[in-house]
Assembly symmetry: C2
Homo-oligomer: 379 residues x 2
């Protein structure tokens, strides 16, 4: 399993701002000579993630002076119609999802899969996938099988996370959750089937353009990336850590919270972007920059989710609100306070943008606006 | 999704003997001129499976005269040390499984995955995979990632099937089932993680020989085959149909029972053999013959399982015995009686052998003996 992060990672931080500065397998001179004492707050996001990926004990945090220069924000055409773009892509994705799960025999399981998969939602992950493919120079048709696959994975994780033995949630996307609308057994199996179907769809050569613009090598790489993001190094790790933390009865610290969120949320956004980039023909360097962009917006997504949970109603969210507050679950607002959480979100947003510098300014517009959307969404 | 069976399938039957005779997309003259009226019993296994695969309504069963000639039984060296072969392969598979799931963080989920995955078992599926690769002319190292993957899928299906909301089984492989040894949430997640890891392992190029003897094309095809066998066309379809049938309170007919078994059991044996053949470099024709062999032994496996459930004790089986009898679950012994069930098993065994004729007589020894083992096992 390749990792983008080496065992030595230098991060600079202002408040909770993350700078993925120098990622190498050995300390660099610049980094080791830096004096970190003046830094008040440290962010261990990248370090913890890297250590986990490499199955190493948490490495020592080595810091360098923070960059005082404002992060390079790419010039994006202000005229970009983000709403129209999202709508257009969501329609295309919904159509592909609908076609990918026809109402076959046995009917009940296909109904359950379709119930959860076609329940709406903003299709953030598939759109990220399509947008990353575009940034890499690929066409939409190259990334659509992957876009469908990541949404299937997202849906299956929601179905299983909502189960009574897990988060026990009755409401999802404004409707009864899958095990409420059907039954527990069907929900478990619908999740399993969607998980398998995601890989089936991603590896189905008939779903790709006939011109061979996506090679079997790229598909194999995409399958590996998707598998890693679901398993015990990804979504499952996040859910396990979350359940363990909830059961502890004591608040977790920021490092543990970041582990949960990086795995429970960020990995799938990361996989969506990276797989889109792979099938779009991105270079390794481009893939790694897009991976870091995605990791930032992944963490951002969860920080914002935590904020919304305490600031919005169930009706506004379309799911049970205030649940984190009622439970003993640690969230960013509980850990940092609401204001600091918002600052952290802002810093992550800026960092995500800086990773996009160097790409085509026009083509990155959807990714820039998607990050903004994740940051400023109201549900 | 490619299917080995066209919409027109001609089967001949004597008693419950299945003959996969002519598999084509159009009726052949020989078939359409045949007079089926003299046949007392019909077997719809292939027809139902094909219709389901192609998402068609059940096709008309068109029959041809039964073959009166005995099936060609390949000459197998009587000296073949099957016990030694199984032991040697199981040791290699166990070692690969152990290495594939190291005890990483978060510990509990990896413990649960290892608990179920390394609980012993006969490793029939991985051995089938390795043996099919050998028959196709490949080396063991080419098939080991696939062998590991199919055992992961098998284990995940057992973990989820044992859940309280499914078959609610406390005992598995002679030990508490996963949700009993750990908890329900961990069992759901361990299953999910193993499912994802199976695809991760199968698509991990570093797991294959460095000489490129397994190409990305072969891996993509293998991933597709594995995905199909798990999802709503495979294991999940079988489990759903099984749960529905159990809930009916009325016995299902033989057609429904065959649907359940072909999907709940046969598909994974089929995938094991087919994927082994793919990575071993088999031709399409060879793959399809091995697929039919596997489908026969898959159904055989379940018929024998049903027989063992009523003839053996829990201690002898290492799992709860007599469960099918106590429940309203339809089984072959209930449907056909014990004697007819045994005859059916015998016919399936013979048919499986006939599919192996034409392959290297020495190399098929493990597959011939594996079929015998499945037929004559005592637990």
């Amino acid at each position: 399993m390749a990792s983008s992060l080496g065992p030595y990672i230098y991060c600079t931080s202002v408040g909770h701002r993350v700078h993925f500065a120098s990622l190498s397998s050995r300390p660099t001179t610049a980094a080791t000579t830096a004096a970190p004492r003046s830094l008040a707050t440290k962010t261990r996001v990248a370090i913890v993630a890297a250590a986990h990926r490499l199955r190493l004990p948490p490495p020592k945090v080595m810091e360098v002076e923070p960059s005082l220069a404002p992060s390079a924000e790419p010039a994006v055409a202000a005229a970009f119609d983000f709403k129209g773009y999202m709508l257009e892509k969501a329609v295309a994705v919904n159509s592909a999802l609908d076609a990918a799960v026809p109402l076959a025999h046995p009917k009940r399981i296909h109904e359950a899969m379709r119930y959860s998969l076609l329940a709406g939602g903003k299709r953030v992950r598939p759109v990220l996938c399509l947008a990353a493919c575009d940034v890499a120079g690929g066409r939409e048709s190259q990334a659509m099988p992957a876009a469908v696959a990541v949404e299937m994975i997202h849906t299956m994780s929601l179905i299983h996370d909502d189960l009574p033995c897990m988060d026990d949630d009755d409401l999802r996307r404004g409707r009864p959750s899958c095990h409420r609308a059907f039954d527990e057994a069907t929900a478990v199996l619908a999740g399993d089937a969607l998980l398998a179907l995601a890989f089936g769809h991603l590896s189905d050569l008939t779903c790709y353009p006939a011109d061979g613009s996506v090679s079997p090598d790229q598909i194999v790489r995409a399958v590996g990336e998707l598998a890693r993001c679901v398993g015990a190094e990804g979504l499952v790790a996040g859910q396990v850590a979350d359940l363990e933390a909830t059961g502890l009865g004591t608040p977790v610290n920021q490092e543990q919270l970041e582990f949960i969120h990086l795995h429970k949320t960020a990995v799938l956004l990361e996989a969506s972007v990276v797989i889109g980039a792979i099938v779009g023909g991105a270079s390794d360097d481009q893939i790694e920059r897009l991976r870091k962009y995605a990791r930032c917006i992944g963490l951002l997504f969860q920080v914002v989710d935590d904020i919304l949970d305490v600031t919005k109603s169930s009706e506004e969210l379309g799911k049970t609100a205030g649940k984190d507050l009622a439970s003993d679950k640690t969230t960013y607002p509980k850990l940092l306070g609401l204001e600091k959480s918002r600052e952290f979100a802002e810093e992550l947003l800026k960092e995500s943008r800086s990773q996009l510098s160097g790409f085509d300014a026009i083509k990155i517009a959807p990714l820039v606006h998607l990050a903004d959307y994740i940051a400023y969404r109201q549900k």
